[in-house]
Subunit: 168 residues, 2 copies
DNA sequence: TCCATATTGTTATCTTATAACATATCACTT
DNA sequence: AAGTGATATGTTATAAGATAACAATATGGA
């Protein structure tokens, strides 16, 4: 699997590669980890990969319903739980929403804990490494004797494309 | 108003001072800003100041109800909105819950954007400055051309007191 | 084929949050 | 003191997000 630099999704990019690459990666991951990428799970991932936007569980469910793949909340929540646990999808706490992981094949692969940059206007979500921030975070935590298990870092603002127009 | 160092709430401390100091500060703030600390607002703040724990809106509402101060969700949500906007209370995105700001009189006063340390076991929430982390955060954002409007930084883990016992 | 396990279908319910509108209170002017 | 506009509260209803529980089915290995 070729290792490529992380895509800056705010720049013009070959989005087909995000979609295809994401699906290929998911299949490969499930293969090696003995996980099952069932039709519903694959479709949910695909829906999320189709844009870099954060989607709510019920938005996804509506699409599944149109596809005839289920209309009850547990259908989508179970698929999302699987995808989040495998690192293929991330949960955005600030939005109560989900976005596909777009770091396939990059140096910061799955299992990483990213920082998110969330555009309030277009809802696009970029993902970047927490590595550079992590040191100072751990230092603060250590100073208080706190044992860090996981981190939520989400920046709310405007992406380059949305900065021109009217403010939100 | 005396400026005192920020309290480490994970250490033994004079909690009465947190409560009294918090209320005094709130009254002073509202005085100078022309805001109204009405009975419901004051009571919600007091409920949150009584511990350093994160409480859900409906937890708070149940207490208000026992006090005979209202039983409908908008009562508590409106009070919380006011308190969050004035910087007296913070919202914890990861928990969909709220905690009183405990930086009264400290150098990093109100209006700051803190980092939160949330204990999964006892639900206590400590607050510390984002100052030291902010630089590296802004750098990442700038590299992507992203305009940051606000930040969510929440560390999930175990506070010193909860580290001894069984893991969660 | 049979079994244990993992997955999906379905119903019901729970938690969190807000819209909308009526009523009351406050703070200021006359 | 009465009027007035803005702010705050009371109340009903409902939206939005999430999960518990159990029945039915599919899957992969013995």
């Amino acid at each position: 699997m070729p290792v490529q630099p992380a895509t800056n999704i705010f720049e013009k990019h070959n989005h087909r590669r995000c979609l295809k690459g994401g699906m290929d990666e998911a299949r490969a991951l499930c293969q090696t980890q003995g996980l099952r990428l069932t039709p519903v799970r694959a479709r949910v991932l695909e829906i999320l990969l189709e844009s870099h936007k954060a989607l709510g569980a019920y938005d996804i469910l509506a699409i599944l319903d149109m596809d005839g793949m289920g209309r009850q909340p547990p259908v989508v929540y179970r698929a999302l739980e699987f995808l989040v646990q495998s690192g293929l999808v991330h949960r955005l706490e600030k939005l109560n929403a989900f976005a596909a992981c777009c770091h396939q094949g990059s140096a910061e692969g799955r299992g990483h804990e990213p920082m998110f940059l969330i555009c309030t206007q277009c809802r696009q979500v970029a993902e970047t490494s927490l590595k550079e921030v992590e040191g100072s975070i751990e230092k603060c935590a250590a100073a208080l004797g706190f044992e860090v298990q996981s981190r939520v870092v989400e920046l709310i603002g405007r992406c380059p494309a949305c900065q021109g127009g009217a403010g939100l």
